[in-house]
Amino acid sequence: MASIARCLRAARPALKVPVSRVCSARAFSATTTCNDPPTDALRKYTKEHEWIDLSADLKTGVIGISEYAAKALGDVVFVELPEEGKRVQAGDAIGAVESVKSAADINAPVSCKITAVNMLLEEKPATINQVPEDDSHGGGWIAKVSVDEQGVKDLDKLMDEKAYEEFTATEEEH
């Protein structure tokens, strides 16, 4: 499983399709296979390295941290999950990801309400390193959210995948 994750990571710079559409062949892929209907999810990134997938009807979304952030953090040993049911504004700290060397806040990419959190990360925080941008069962996503009008508006301020890649490339030069 880890080796597949590594392959995906290595291929990432050339990856032009949204990660959510990539079939992540996993040990327990019986539940999440390539047969899943392709979502028309819209993936956007923040400058603070979170991603959000918004559903086609613009009502719900999934939040996580980017592969770039996961790699920079190193081995994740603890994830503080958001509080279920909480309403938050874009930019609010909703949780944290911690490695041996540092701690990073997880900020809400858009105004939203937390509807579910990824309990798997409590037991296996390292999932964040393996598949940080996988929003399926067994993936490293952080929370599921519902989004209102403001949340959809906030989305405009975020970067698409191409812009985010360019952004991280310039960050690395620093």
């Binding site: 390295h49 190193g74 081995d75 040993v77 944290a96 911690e98 490695s99 990073a104 620093h174």
Partner: protein, 476 residues
């Protein structure tokens, strides 16, 4: 970053295999040039680096984390110096960060910080600590001078023995200017290693204190001279259980490292890959809690010695390790990092370093800066002394790791009783460990407290340090 050595233990006297003077006096003209330019370029850029630290992460995320502070790590990269191992770091895929005015490796691509940490405890690692400042004090008054600015007993420190000490403020407050390792390398010669982050402050401190000492007519027969003869040397630390075997392999003489104990040092020669040899000063000790050595090496040969050690051990037994692993290793070993766990307003007694003051110097008239304050603090209130109002303690924190700056409170929503000064998830223990200062009375092992992480109280308990048993080589 600092390493700690305890007072020199017992053990047989060493037979010097090469003259220390020869080791120390060897400097080419190119060294002097390099040294001077280095000092010039760093003295300006590190003016306020006493709180310099690395807690590296992506800047924008880091800025958003309120409990994580930036030190001088935002120093523009142009003003940073390079250690003699800079090219070697890049060749081994180091991720470089600014630290103490230098480009320093935080980790290498072969291992994550956690893996590197564990590798050091199981095998061995080489750390570049050339950013630290290697000073030399010489002269008939050197011991007496150092006994004025530190609480150590240097008159009775044998040649080739080291001691952990603290430079103390001249105002008598007992506050720590920096922590340091002092080694007597000859009669009247003391090798003093201080922190990179305190370079500018320490330079000014020593300049002032040396001048003050030499100006005093009563010291006419006891002059002291600060020499920069060691300043261009490289410094590396070989740490971990395989260290002795690996180091033995590269030494030219059949030196029995089994008789070189913790806190001892000796000059030796290393066989380099190209066939020539190199003078090194070997000290047994380090900043990881493991057995290990620190090697002071002429700057232009530091990379070659490092390569010789890497070749000798091979990748299964020795790897390069960066500041990331160095920080978590020293924290598990309960050692202080200046600018975090120690500062100008903290005394050795508050910091739990009362043991660095030997019996002979425990009186108020011991003659070192701050002796009155420190001698009173050394005696608890219950025994008629002043004691201290706060103390450095170890903590094990449930749930979220507590980092520097996290508030410590009495349990159940009680008052603030202290603050965390260092903390991380311990790779060895699988628990969150931290050190910090708490009010006297709340410092005893087993005391339950709360630590506030991201505004929420987390249960924590005061524990004895070190968190992980140290494995210093002290002989039978």
């Amino acid at each position: 970053m600092r390493r700690a050595l305890a007072l020199a233990g017992r053990g047989p006297a060493h037979t010097a295999t090469s003259s220390p003077a020869a080791v120390l006096a060897r400097r080419s003209v190119s060294h002097i040039t390099a040294s001077n330019s280095q000092l010039t370029s760093t003295s300006t850029s590190t003016a306020k680096t006493t709180t310099a630290h690395f807690r590296p992460f992506i800047p924008s995320r880091r800025a958003a984390a309120p409990q994580v502070r930036h030190g001088s790590s935002s120093t523009p990269s142009e003003s940073l110096s390079k250690t003699p191992l800079y090219d070697l770091h890049l060749a081994y895929g180091a991720k470089m960060v600014p630290f103490g005015g230098f480009h320093m490796p935080v980790q290498y691509e072969s291992l994550s910080v956690g893996q590197s940490h564990t590798f050091t405890r199981e095998h061995s690692s080489i750390f570049d600590v050339s950013h630290m400042v290697q000073r030399l004090f010489k002269g008939p008054g050197a011991a007496a001078f150092l006994q004025r600015i530190t609480p150590s007993d240097l008159d009775n420190l044998p040649v080739f023995r080291s001691t952990l000490s603290t430079l103390l403020h001249a105002n008598g407050s007992g506050g720590i200017v920096d922590d340091t390792i002092i080694t007597r390398v000859l009669d009247g010669w003391f090798y003093v290693v201080t922190n990179a982050g305190c370079r500018a402050k320490d330079d000014a401190y020593f300049d002032t204190e040396v001048a003050k000492w030499n100006r005093d007519p009563s010291h006419a027969a006891l002059p002291v001279e600060q020499s920069d003869q060691m300043s261009s040397r490289g410094l590396i630390a070989l740490q971990g259980p395989d260290s002795q075997a690996i180091l033995s392999f590269v030494l030219t003489e059949p030196i029995d490292l089994a008789t070189l104990y913790f806190g001892h040092c000796l000059p030796a020669h290393v066989r380099l890959p190209a066939g020539d040899t190199c003078d090194v000063l070997i000290s047994r000790g380090g900043y990881t809690g493991e057995d290990g050595f620190e090697l002071s090496i002429p700057g232009d040969q530091a990379a070659a010695v490092t390569r010789a050690l890497l070749d000798a051990g091979g990748p299964a037994r020795v790897q390069l390790a960066g500041l990331g692993a160095r920080d978590s290793l020293r924290l598990e070993a309960g050692m202080c990092l200046y600018g975090h766990d120690l500062d100008d307003a903290t005394t050795p007694v508050e910091a739990g370093l009362g043991w660095i003051v030997p019996k002979a110097r425990r009186g108020p008239d011991a003659g070192y800066y701050g002796a009155e304050v420190i001698s009173r603090q050394l005696v608890p209130i219950s025994k008629g002394g002043a004691g201290v109002t706060r103390r450095r303690v170890g903590l094990v924190v449930e749930g979220a790791p507590a980092r520097e700056g996290a508030e410590i409170a009495a349990p159940g929503g009680g008052d603030k009783i202290g603050v965390v000064t260092s903390g991380c998830p311990s790779p060895t223990l699988g628990k969150n460990i931290a050190m910090g200062y708490v009010k006297e009375g709340m410092h005893k092992a087993g005391t339950e407290v709360d630590v506030l992480v991201r505004g929420r109280p987390r249960k924590a308990v005061v524990v004895k340090m070190p968190f992980v048993e140290t494995k210093y080589y002290k002989g039978a």
